[in-house]
Symmetry: C3
Subunit: 269 residues, 3 copies
Amino acid sequence: MDMKQITINLLTKIRCGAPLIHNITNYVVMNSSANILLATGAAPVMAHCLSEVEEMTAMAGALVLNIGTLQEDWVESMIVAARKANTKGIPVILDPVGAGATAMRTAAVGKILSQADISVVRGNASEILSLASTGIVTKGVDSSVQLSPQVADAARHLAAANNCIIAISGPQDCVTDGHQFFTIANGHPLMARVTGTGCGLSAVTAAFCAMDRDEVLPATAAAFGFYGLCGELAAAISDKPGSFFVAFLDSLYAAGEKEINRLLKITLA
Amino acid sequence: MDMKQITINLLTKIRCGAPLIHNITNYVVMNSSANILLATGAAPVMAHCLSEVEEMTAMAGALVLNIGTLQEDWVESMIVAARKANTKGIPVILDPVGAGATAMRTAAVGKILSQADISVVRGNASEILSLASTGIVTKGVDSSVQLSPQVADAARHLAAANNCIIAISGPQDCVTDGHQFFTIANGHPLMARVTGTGCGLSAVTAAFCAMDRDEVLPATAAAFGFYGLCGELAAAISDKPGSFFVAFLDSLYAAGEKEINRLLKITLA
Amino acid sequence: MDMKQITINLLTKIRCGAPLIHNITNYVVMNSSANILLATGAAPVMAHCLSEVEEMTAMAGALVLNIGTLQEDWVESMIVAARKANTKGIPVILDPVGAGATAMRTAAVGKILSQADISVVRGNASEILSLASTGIVTKGVDSSVQLSPQVADAARHLAAANNCIIAISGPQDCVTDGHQFFTIANGHPLMARVTGTGCGLSAVTAAFCAMDRDEVLPATAAAFGFYGLCGELAAAISDKPGSFFVAFLDSLYAAGEKEINRLLKITLA
């Protein structure tokens, strides 16, 4: 698989097609996720009300469910939207923000996974491990564990058990469907010093998956690689978080074939 | 009408008077609309709870109603706030975000228009046309149609039928009360690559209308012209969306008489 | 008391310990408060649902309650979270955004103060005076009064009556427990031209208090001084609000011992 060419092709399709990405996401990142999607080339919409989520999802190229700042009634909207997406073959990306930190969030993820088909679960290692009932405790919304052979095994098993892709971001990323296993070495530590960069990655993953519904595994890896290398490009411009995030949005907009060929580091194990 | 002088006068009044602008707006843009208003010189406040909207509106120079990320209970708050504004002669600006995309949003706009007096409806062409029952479908929150003679006619009829000003933003803007018809040639395509620039224009329109309640038609055109030329100034500083938006806020704060005289392009047809 | 050394020590502890700060805050500033905390070195989490606030607070180093964009059901979550914090000795910072502007907000502050122990109330002069039943009316969320001997006396009395610290930000800041009285001369007028800088100060105050629960009075003064001098550093980089806020985040991240020794202006009266 030529991941550089796949990434370039998907990015080009996003920029030509401006896929509508429907986000049911948390209050903290609604603005930043919208800007991250717009910079990349996609068209974001945010809508969470039960009365309109099905209609909005039906128009979309992909659906993002994100459980940060969760309220109980939002879970119902998420499930209804995801089921509509399922009937139309629209990819659904689940971001389990803070799973493992509170019982409510862990339960919400379990409920969503049991009542709808999720294409990709994108989280940090703590959040993903909490889904595997390892007893790992998440500190707020930040990861307290690193990618290790044990975490990789847990990811493989979770993917196989839930028939979905598990995508873990962190110092080193991994993306697996339980069989194939990608590692992605792009990214920069400053990304963790800006709120919503993880959530933004879930949104960009949705945009990539929207362009190739039949190949969401490489599309997810491509999204991770592209997003991470834009972080590297931004860190070359600024080493402080305020101006770093500005440069990151600029990079998502401007980076293309040349930067992907030069920087993308995706390995299929 | 000397639109350059009118624009300069209204902007000066905003910067001296810091009018309080009460926003009942969507989650995505609460932060950006507040910053756009502050940069321009106004004083934003966000409050949506039925228990306090009347009190807050009564203090304000103008009221913004924006239906993005809508929930049903917010519509009631919007109507109560608008009626309070009506009793005090306070201008009300309605931003029909995503009208035409879902039945819920289209219905909400119809309900608000029928139960309160709206001074200005500010949207993109798709959103505005959806109010005219043309069968146009809005793609998420982005416009799928351009300004054309047909759109201009629809705007005139809508304005006359609802006794309000219809203000359409896009590559070319138009503002009409059904009789007079302004076109505004300011603006820049990068504005569409940052979330909330349309919503921010509704907020700035409110600030301009707050300074001359009896002349909201030219005040709306002035707001569009000033806002668009700040987009041009920002695009001269950066051609990428992250740094563009930073420069746009800077321009809203710093642009004045000189820039208005040099760049404002408002035509009364 | 060597306030420079105290400030340096607390900041160092924040950057080493990355204290989790639990925010139940308003929609406008959720993103900016998170970024302000991350830039400073703390780990923000936002959660407001009654079902999870106790669990989240129990993990946190400090709790922020902020009544902007208030809804009635959020007040209950705030009180439940604050009581959990009280049982564990976790500092609670209350930001009475818009108190005095509407009856609902003034009542909410009264209810919170009467049902939980608050460590620090951080607001502008109008908001703080509204708690003292002076009949002062707040204009939206901005202060309509300046720090004066009368305001200082009111702050002392409020602090003593509520057994908490009263911290007033403005052109000149003051922090008092009813006995000791600090004035802080750091800060810059551009901070008032960016939304959420006051709310961000409440969050940073929480981070400082998290590092020394037994000395929240000097910790609050230290937070005010550090925050204000970062505003000064940012204003030296940009005199316009968009780029000023970017530089402010950069300064919160980069400023340290050298800048504190050079710029901190905290006086114990």
